[in-house]
């Protein structure tokens, strides 16, 4: 249903059934709008939303921290910084180089967090390392803004950081999809590890989930999935934070089942946010990162307030 809403939303009113009937190769402008503009945008929203929801669920499962989201460990910042540096300080970039470099940035960030936290680090040490790396990357991005080659470059960097799905087509979908799939596979492989972790780190290792393999699997899975998303859509926050919380009661607190339900819910949430963006008229494009932040902040309030009530009981 959300898909139908997405496909019907847009500045031009099109005859949806005629466009679908026309098929992929039809030349009518309605069909072109549907198949080449609206459909890839909706599909991209689904892919990116799923990647972010999945990454958030995995992050919260591994760190057992309700405030965890992929951005916490610097994944989004690493990818965004790589993209910014390449776009505005590097040479002209060909189509595939940008997402590859963004993913490399995400992997580097994750790798740095891992190195900083040290071998066999506990969840809280990982969080600390993540916050430190994130702070450093944010500082670098502030420098990038400061020394932006022109006002236009500065505006571009800001728009990139706000995230957007506008003007994206099938080429962006095909670019991001393989990496998101790789990340998804990694994360699904680690679902039992996340289940075991909910019993505590000691219990998890006694169950056989000791060593570096599983944490690295989770970290790299998140880096691939979220890195690819940032590469094509810019930084979009709060999906990874909000969605696992919404889904957790529905899956009986099971971190494993939470993975795929967060993926689905993340896809839905981002698609709905994009429908809102498409239906908002204005002189400037409403950036989707702004919409998700607007959803996320009140959700935070609700989290705190409901937590407060529990404590009082």
């Amino acid at each position: 249903m959300a898909m139908l809403a997405a496909l019907s939303s847009g500045p031009v009113s099109i005859d949806l059934s005629a466009a679908i009937a026309g098929g992929w190769h039809s030349d009518s402008s309605d069909a072109v709008i549907l198949w080449q503009l609206r459909l890839p945008r909706a599909v991209l929203a689904i892919v990116v939303g799923a990647a972010l929801g999945l990454g958030g669920a995995a992050m919260q499962g591994m760190l057992r921290n309700p405030l965890a989201e992929p951005a916490l460990l610097g994944v989004s910042s690493g990818a965004a910084l790589a993209a910014i540096l390449v776009l505005y300080y590097g040479a002209a970039v060909s189509g595939y180089l940008l997402p590859l470099l963004a993913i490399a940035g995400a992997l580097l960030a994750v790798g740095s967090v891992w190195l900083l936290a040290g071998h066999g680090a506990s969840a809280s040490r990982l969080v600390l390392a993540g916050v430190a790396i994130n702070a450093f990357l944010s500082a670098l991005m502030a420098l990038a803004l400061n020394y932006a080659p022109s006002m236009f470059a500065m505006q571009e960097i800001v728009f990139w950081l706000l995230g957007s799905l506008a003007n994206r087509g099938w080429d962006q979908v095909l670019l991001a999809l393989p990496f998101v799939v790789i990340g998804t596979v990694f994360l699904f492989l680690s679902r039992n590890y996340l289940r075991a972790l909910s019993l505590g780190e000691a219990s998890a290792s006694s169950l056989g989930f000791s060593g570096r393999r599983y944490p690295l699997l989770v970290l790299f899975g998140i880096a691939f999935a979220v890195g690819a998303s940032v590469a094509v859509a810019g930084t979009i926050g709060f999906i990874g934070l909000v969605v696992p919380h919404l889904m957790r009661p529905l899956v009986g607190q099971d971190p494993g089942r939470l993975l795929w339900s967060s993926a689905l819910a993340g896809a839905l949430l981002l698609l709905l946010a994009d429908v809102l963006v498409l239906n908002t008229v204005g002189t400037q494009e409403l950036r989707i990162g702004a919409v998700t932040a607007f959803i996320g902040a009140p959700f935070f309030f609700w989290l705190i307030v409901s937590g407060r009530r529990e404590l009082n009981l």
């Binding site: 031009v12 072109v32 709008i33 080449q36 236009f152 571009e156 003007n167």
Partner: protein
């Protein structure tokens, strides 16, 4: 603000400029030994359209920078560098404010004002002549006019009341954005571009490196336009200094129209 009093103007040989467009016009049309200072913007790769002589001082629009240079004419635009130009006026320097041009009539006025300030300059005179010649051509038959649509950075389009719109009209196109009621600037999504089916898609600047602002131009859905040659790219300088590019753009658009209308 009034222009310098009329009367035979002897050639100035210490001209300074506080405005990017004035910089470029001076560098294009006036002998370099007559110029003492232009703004620092003209030193930037992005804005420079004419070679920059070494001896020039690149100013940051501060009166104290121009004082030691003792200019005998200071050119400035309508906006920007207001404090500096007022200060210089108070100190007794001859300051001429050339108004900006937002349509072709104002452009002709701008060139005339420049001529009055600088005296007889061959390059400037030729530009005025060419512009007048193009504008004197009878406009094409309105009913057969092909449709054109401007897709600029960040999905902006130009409607009624903008110089770019007027150039399209004069060249014999219908501006589809203005037809849909857009005044000045408006937003145009790729969907609207496809739906409008312009016969000429006009891009604006952005031929250099990749930029998100120009992401729309790279969308596969526009490939057909690019492959059939139904695109035209307005030069960047049309935005910050129309006097540099308007004549060429108008001529090229007229040629493009002939090309399009000539097609079966």
């Amino acid at each position: 603000m009034p222009l310098l009093a009329s009367g035979p103007v002897s050639a100035q040989d210490r001209i300074a400029s506080l405005n990017l467009c004035m910089d470029q016009l001076l560098l294009q049309w006036v002998a370099p030994e007559r110029i003492v200072s232009v703004t620092w913007l003209s030193g930037e790769e992005y804005y420079r359209r004419a070679p920059l002589p070494e001896h020039l001082y690149l100013n940051r629009a501060q009166a104290e920078e121009l004082l030691p240079l003792k200019p005998d004419l200071v050119l400035t635009g309508q906006y920007g560098a207001q404090r500096a130009s007022q200060r210089l006026e108070q100190l007794g320097f001859p300051v001429v404010r050339i108004p900006d041009a937002y349509n072709l009539a104002q452009l002709q006025q701008q060139l005339a004002s420049l001529q009055q300030a600088l005296g007889e300059i061959p390059g400037l005179r030729q530009q005025q002549r060419e512009l007048k010649a193009l504008l004197d051509q009878t406009p094409e038959d309105g009913t057969r006019n092909p449709g054109a649509l401007i897709l600029s950075a960040n999905n902006i389009t130009y409607g009624d009341g903008m110089l770019e719109h007027e150039l399209l009209i004069r060249a014999g196109f219908t501006n589809l954005a203005a037809q849909q009621g857009i005044q000045q600037l408006g937003r145009v999504s790729l969907e609207q571009v496809i739906d409008a089916q312009p016969q000429l898609l006009v891009f604006y600047g952005g031929e250099q490196d990749f930029a998100i602002a120009h992401l729309a131009e790279r969308h596969p859905v526009l490939r057909e336009y690019i492959e059939t040659g139904r695109v035209y790219r307005l030069p960047q300088e049309l935005g910050f200094c129309p006097a540099l590019a308007a004549v060429d753009v108008l001529q090229q658009l007229m040629d493009k129209r002939k090309e399009i209308v000539g097609q079966p």
